[in-house]
């Protein structure tokens, strides 16, 4: 059976679906609309999660719990973690940019399973609303985003069960998305396009989707068992009833360590798209980039227990997981040097997109170094469950993934809307975010090394000053979203008209109008076999010149 994809089909489809802004509220099957839906929905949750983060930092400006009650603090930090991970970063780096860009990159009119795609998106808003409303109705979950038993069994059950249901819905959404990306990248490539000619983001999404499909179901199964413990009083993870809490930790981290790569591998891919365009150079080391992504995918499955060095893990296991984790630094380092080499000697235009990408490189190296440190058992035992881990984690997911999300929005906004963002506001946004971020999280390394435990509302008064500095940084980060929001809203109406390809990029999504038509290209999809062929034209000219001089010589 074949599915005809003639333009006329799309025109017929057009009439059935709402047009204009209403289509963003509809069950649209267009991958571009779904991508924007993911992005805007994710950003709304980012604002909610950010408000919760601000509340946490306000609470921590003083050593006593004065701004919030202790149980409210626990609920707020649980919601903050869950929202930021499951409703902002994972859906946006995968769902938003993946849906928008992957069909362009493989030369297709849409994803392999458009209807499944729409279902995957529409699972997210109800899950998010359920999670947030649980705070107002029953009290939200209090056991952190890890929901470790026995804490998650002993805290109020209603909030915890709603948390589990919501994460299960989001996990389902992720799995559907992952299946769709794998099918699209492997099966829907335009005839003539080889795998090794694909833009790097395709490889990153292929690797990420493999992680999603293989690891998310394990979390789902674990949470189902946990919900039995809470509702039916079975004893899987309850030591009082003969259960084993460490099994939960193993199963949880079997998903949640790959989840870090689910959040950061697509970011790697996006940076690899942005840097060559703005430095006018081919991506350095394409093949090594591909192999390092796949190496991270494989290693990502065998490092989970480095989160559990203090959980009575036997020495042989600690040794194995230390070595495996340290190995991950190798492919990651290769990618880092490749980005630097891509920038090296390029004609770099230092616009907001590049600034955020460079900010990502700096932050990610810092987060990576603390990551290697944390992989070493003696050090980890010292700083486990302290603010050092909080700092490391935020350097990876905020300094890494969120910086890349902003970079990507500055880069692809002209493609989404046909208008440019205001460059001046973009730079203000970058410097506020970069300074605020480092001011907020760099001091937390010191707090952790000196023994301030995480996830508590009250702390030793000696840490007050550093916490206040950190809170000032958080305030700057909160302020930084104001120019960003103003910029994106007013540029949508009044921004300078971008033209089809304002960055003179070579990747396929720019070889159509901005914003693109429903069928992505009028006529045949272009065959782009060298997505990073910057400088190739110059070389041809040089060759032409040299032949000219040769001719003259003759």
């Amino acid at each position: 059976m074949t599915i005809a994809n003639q333009p006329s089909d799309f025109e017929r489809g057009d009439r059935l679906q709402p047009t204009g802004w209403m289509r963003y509220l509809s069950f649209s099957l267009d991958h571009k609309v779904i991508g924007i839906q993911y992005l805007i929905c994710g950003f709304i949750f980012y604002l909610i999660g950010g408000t919760l983060a601000s509340a946490i930092r306000i609470e921590l400006t003083s050593p006593i719990s004065d701004f919030m009650a202790r149980d409210v603090y626990n609920q707020v930090l649980t919601l903050h973690g869950t929202i930021m991970i499951f409703l902002w970063i994972v859906p946006v780096v995968n769902g938003a940019f993946g849906n928008y860009l992957i069909p362009f990159y493989v030369g297709a009119r849409d994803m392999a399973f458009p209807r499944l795609n729409a279902v995957a998106f529409w699972l997210i808003p109800p899950a998010g609303l359920m999670l947030i409303s649980s705070y107002f109705i029953t009290g939200a979950a209090e056991s952190g985003w890890t929901a470790y038993p026995p804490l998650s069994i002993n805290t109020p059950a209603a909030g915890q069960i709603i948390w589990i249901l919501s994460v299960l819905l989001l996990g389902g959404s992720s799995i559907f998305g992952g299946i769709n990306f794998i099918a699209t990248i492997l099966k829907l490539r335009r005839p003539g396009l080889k795998l090794m000619q694909l833009p790097m983001y395709c490889w990153a999404m292929l690797g990420t989707s493999i992680l999603v499909v293989l690891s998310t179901p394990v979390l789902a199964g674990t949470l189902i068992l946990l919900s039995f413990d809470i509702v039916a009083h079975t004893g899987f993870f309850n030591p009082v009833l003969g259960g084993n809490v460490v099994v939960y930790q193993h199963l949880f981290w079997f998903y949640s360590h790959p989840a870090v790569y689910i959040m950061v591998l697509p970011a790697f891919g996006l940076v690899s798209e942005i840097l060559p365009v703005h430095s006018r150079k081919p991506l350095f080391g394409y093949t090594t980039m591909v192999y390092s992504i796949m190496a991270i995918v494989i290693l990502g499955f065998v490092v989970w227990a480095h989160h559990m060095f203090t959980s009575g893990t036997p020495p042989w296991m600690r040794l194995f997981f230390t070595i495996a984790t340290s190995f991950i630094a190798v492919p990651t380092g290769i990618k880092f040097f490749n980005w630097v080499a891509t920038l090296w000697g390029g004609r770099i235009s230092l616009n907001a997109a590049v600034l955020f990408s460079c900010g990502f490189i700096v932050n990610f190296v810092l987060g990576g170094i603390t990551g290697v440190a944390l992989a070493q058992v003696p050090f980890d035992v010292h700083v486990h469950d302290t603010y050092f881990v909080v700092a490391h984690f935020h350097y990876i997911v905020y300094g890494g993934s969120v910086f890349v999300i902003f970079s990507s929005i500055y880069h692809w906004y002209p493609k989404f809307t046909g208008r440019m963002l205001n460059e001046q506001l973009g730079r203000i946004h970058f410097f506020l975010t970069f300074i605020g971020f480092n001011l907020c999280f760099a001091p937390q390394h010191w707090l952790g090394l000196n023994g301030m435990p995480r996830r508590v509302a009250e702390y030793d008064p000696q840490f007050a000053l550093i916490n206040q500095i950190s809170s000032v940084g958080a305030l700057l980060m909160a302020l930084s979203t104001i120019p960003f929001i103003w910029n994106t809203i007013q540029s949508a109406f009044n921004g300078q008209i971008a033209g089809d390809n304002p960055w003179e990029a070579l990747t396929p999504e720019w070889l159509t109008s901005s914003p693109p038509p429903v069928e992505n290209w009028r006529g045949q999809a272009p065959l782009v076999t060298a997505p990073y062929g910057y400088g190739a034209r110059k070389k041809e000219e040089e060759d032409a010149e040299s032949t000219d001089t040769n001719n003259q010589g003759n």
Binding site: P191, L225, G242, N244
Partner: protein, 200 residues
């Protein structure tokens, strides 16, 4: 891994102007079954770890009766064969035969569920008695849920195949193939479950 399309063929497509792509629903289903299999893998890993590191009190150890689960295994394996027969029949355009094999498969699925129910009621332990009992019910229950869904699918496919020229024809029978792949998957999981839970 790379697909190489000769230039001539490529230009032929361009001149043809009509773009078509194949049907990748089976590929999507296979990817989903890999994911589903990982859920079971997680459960099996949990069960085996519990068994290895959480000793039970002597009074909580039961010797499971083998005849009934062995019968269940045979029922499911035979049902896989009958479903395969149904697929063969529809490919040979023998609609009546296909319907007969489908209804037999559904019957075997229901027989499995009935026999599983009977086993549940005859067991001396309940869901919350101890860790072993909980894991036993979680594993068999989650698998039973899959069998239930599979049986419903078979009945739907059977209903669809009754209208001639409908969704199930000798050329076009995706629902039947999808249900068949899913059913083989569920049977395969049962074999692993039977070995781990009853024989080990």
């Amino acid at each position: 891994m790379t697909t190489l399309v000769p230039i001539e063929e490529n230009s032929a497509i361009e001149s043809n102007k009509e773009e078509e792509h194949g049907d990748y629903r089976m590929f999507g289903l296979a990817a989903f079954l890999v994911a589903d299999g990982m859920t079971f893998a997680g459960f099996f890993a949990a069960y085996l770890t519990f068994k290895a590191v959480n000793p039970l009190f002597p009074d909580a150890i039961y010797e499971l009766e083998l005849p009934l689960p062995t019968l269940n295994t045979i029922l499911l394996l035979v049902s896989s064969a009958t479903f395969h027969k149904a697929g063969q029949a529809i490919r040979n355009n023998e609609s009546k035969n296909c319907q007969r094999w489908l209804i037999l498969t559904a019957f075997l699925g229901l027989a499995f569920l009935g026999s599983q129910m009977f086993e549940y009621f005859s067991l001396p332990f309940g869901l919350t008695d101890n860790l072993y009992a909980s894991t036993f019910y979680a594993l068999t229950g989650f698998h039973g849920l899959h069998v239930t869904l599979g049986t419903i699918m078979i009945l739907i496919v059977w209903w669809q195949s009754r209208s001639p020229g409908g969704r199930i024809t000798s050329q076009n029978h995706f629902p039947l193939e999808a249900a068949e792949l899913y059913w083989h998957f569920v049977d395969g999981i049962w074999v692993i479950l039977f070995i781990i839970l009853y024989l080990l």
